[in-house]
């Protein structure tokens, strides 16, 4: 249906609305489909919302070798930081080439991921690409800071909380303050016993575990001695 010509004083509005409609249509055809607007795709895997380049590499695979991260390709382990069978520490180094805590942390992460991948999908060992990386390259303080310190913090925190409340209750009940409680020999002994017991027997399954270990340690000896059941060995009875 042909639109009737608008009166002249309104034709200005007509032009503008036409212009708007045209612009909107152009914009809509340019704009990506919905998922892409948020960094996603309609089909296939994505790195995730706001994925960094590294994460995208890990999931989608990078085009060139210089950016591949933790990939298994054609039965080989490929990573831009893995050369000649070891992690190239210079690729992890922080600014100025220093191997500081952050750098070593990344090395630990990388080795963890590599072992996990290879445990799940073992690859053949080849003569052309032997693996030499030794975890002893990572200094002891990096291990301590990464694995021991969080655990120590957790345990000390628990001990402090429990100790504080126990000391408070004992104080309320007996009137002995924190210093007085530990003055006697019995008090010191109780403190040591509790601390070591908590360290040694961590969960309720630890006691049967120690018993099992003891059985396991002596099982082989008992198997060997079985033939001597009820009889003394000649070396024990005969005098030399």
């Amino acid at each position: 249906m042909q639109r009737a010509q608008l009166p002249q004083h309104l034709q200005r509005h007509q032009k503008r609305s036409d212009e708007c409609r045209r612009l909107k249509q152009a914009a809509r055809s340019r704009a990506p489909k919905r998922p892409e607007r948020r960094g996603g795709k309609e089909r296939g895997r994505t790195g995730g919302r706001d994925a960094s380049a590294v994460a995208k590499n890990v999931v989608l695979g990078a085009a060139d070798t210089s950016q591949k991260v933790l990939q298994l390709e054609d039965g080989r382990f490929v990573d831009y930081r893995w050369t000649d069978g070891r992690w190239d520490l210079s690729k992890f180094a922080s600014a100025g080439g220093k191997m500081d805590w952050d750098a070593w942390n990344k090395v630990i992460d990388a080795e963890m991921a590599r072992r996990k991948i290879l445990e799940e999908s073992p690859i053949p060992s080849t003569n052309e690409e032997p693996v030499f990386f030794d975890t002893a390259e990572i200094p002891w303080w990096a291990w301590v800071r990464r694995f021991h310190l969080p655990e120590a913090e957790k345990l000390n925190g628990r001990a402090a909380m429990v100790g504080y409340f126990l000391a408070y209750f004992v104080d309320q009940l007996t009137g002995f303050g924190l210093a007085d409680q530990q003055n006697s020999f019995l008090g010191k002994l109780a403190l040591h016993v509790v601390v070591f017991a908590v360290l040694i027997f961590r969960t309720s399954s630890t006691i049967p575990m120690y018993k099992n270990l003891l059985d396991e340690a002596t099982f082989y000896d008992r198997q060997w001695a079985a033939t001597w059941d009820g009889q003394a060995r000649p070396s024990e009875t005969e005098k030399p």
Partner: protein, 434 residues
């Protein structure tokens, strides 16, 4: 007497000396060994060996035949037969041994009997003599081996090198090996706790050495039981057991040839001594002297290997630590000294302390890397993990098959990828370019 025993065939140096074996018995002198961890970290072991030290690889049929012929030359009577059963008419009387004699050739033996004063049972892991004396059962490992003839250039690499693969995929409590024989290699693995999964473990061993043994032809497949510990009763009356029949196989390395030969010799010596060169009747006490002597001499070796197996074959992190430890010269020297000469030599105490610290450190690092990995996101998935119920081997290593990553590139609904352990089919459309 003419069966070919399925055996690794590795003999230590002390056996060549003690038993005066001629040089042509040994097909190959292995002087290097490569240990390969679950993450394919490899360590070359053998740089501490001197020029004259080696591990001898021999063919069992050649070795056995030589020893038998030598015994015959010294006056032994050799009868070709199959032991059936034995009985003792009176409590102190002679033993009547019933066997099928193959003296006249032919497939079916002729039943014969023989009266003897004493019996030494050396008939291997499935010993019938052991059954006759109610020696009891033992736990055993099943070892599976394929002999593969590989092309010359690949065989050259294995000229004097043996490989050991460790990992959960290869075996939950043992190792996979590639041993060179005279013109082929033997690729095999073993396990105690998951005998039904032995074929998968063998496949995993072949996969790990796939590139190095490519183009090979399998010429023989063999399997045999390996005892894990001695039988409860190794001697009864004037019957004693030696070798595999008694269960003298070490843990960790599964070595038994030398101990079989040595225990046989010790038993014979005990009989000679007890009977005062054949003038008096031997008694059970004399045979027990051999047991006592053997126990005292080799107990330390067996115990140390048992401890090594318990500590280092426990889990993948422990195996990684094991391979890391083998890098050190001190460990290599101690290992070879105790293997080649069968004595546990206590080293320098300071070195021992350092070794202990290094061991603990390696174990801690290995376990830390494994623990932390549980919180990592999944990586590199152009594939899919096969997660059938039987495949989930996360906590219980004796269940099912290894968890596997399957590459789904190139698959479609008509051409799915198949998990080689469970047969599950997987496909994906996501890999196609859009």
């Amino acid at each position: 007497m003419n069966n070919c025993k399925p055996c690794g065939g590795a003999i230590p140096l002390c056996m060549v000396d003690e038993f005066d074996l001629p040089a042509d018995i040994i097909d190959r002198k292995v002087t290097k060994m490569k240990m390969i961890s679950p993450s394919n970290r490899e360590v070359d072991v053998g740089k501490t060996l001197s020029e004259t030290e080696y591990i001898g690889m021999c063919r069992r049929e050649v070795l056995d035949d030589y020893l038998r012929t030598r015994a015959k030359k010294h006056g032994a009577t050799v009868l070709n037969g199959l032991f059936m059963r034995m009985e003792q008419a009176t409590a102190d009387g002679p033993y009547t041994v019933h066997f099928n004699s193959y003296k006249d050739g032919g497939k079916v033996g002729k039943p014969e009997t023989l009266e003897v004063d004493a019996v030494i049972g050396a008939d291997g892991a499935n010993s019938r003599v052991a059954k006759e004396i109610d020696a009891g059962e033992y736990d055993y490992a099943i070892a599976f081996q394929e002999r593969i003839r590989i092309p010359e250039d690949k065989m050259d690499y294995y000229k004097d090198l043996a490989e050991m693969y460790v990992g959960d995929d290869v075996s939950p409590d043992f190792y996979g090996w590639v041993f060179p024989k005279y013109d082929h290699v033997a690729v095999g693995t073993g396990t105690v706790i998951n005998k039904t999964g032995i074929k998968q473990y063998q496949q995993a061993t072949r996969d790990r050495s796939k590139v190095k043994t490519e183009g090979g032809k399998i010429i023989r497949v063999e399997a045999h039981p390996i005892p894990e510990h001695p039988r409860p009763r190794r001697c009864k009356g004037r019957v004693a057991l030696v070798g595999d029949a008694a269960g003298y196989v070490t843990k960790c390395s599964g070595e038994g040839i030398y101990f079989a030969a040595k225990s046989g010799r010790m038993a014979a010596e005990a009989i000679v001594e007890g009977s005062v060169k054949g003038t008096r009747m031997v008694g059970e006490r004399n045979l027990r002297t051999y047991l006592d002597k053997f126990d005292r001499k080799y107990w330390a070796t067996y115990k140390v290997l048992d401890i090594l197996q318990k500590v280092f074959y426990r889990s993948n992190p422990a195996r990684e630590a094991f391979v890391e430890m083998c890098e050190s010269d001190y460990v290599q020297k101690m290992t070879f000294d105790s293997y080649l000469y069968k004595t546990v030599v206590p080293g320098n105490p300071l070195d021992d302390v350092r070794l202990l610290v290094q061991t603990v450190g390696s174990l801690l690092r290995g376990n830390a890397l494994r623990q932390g990995a549980n919180s990592l996101p999944e990586a590199a998935s152009s594939g899919r993990r096969c997660l059938s119920a039987a495949a989930k081997a996360a906590d219980d290593p004796s269940l099912g098959c290894p968890v596997e990553y399957i590459d789904l590139r190139g698959t479609s609904i008509d051409q799915p990828a198949v998990c080689k352990y469970t047969g599950n089919k997987y496909y994906s459309d996501d890999w196609q370019a859009h």
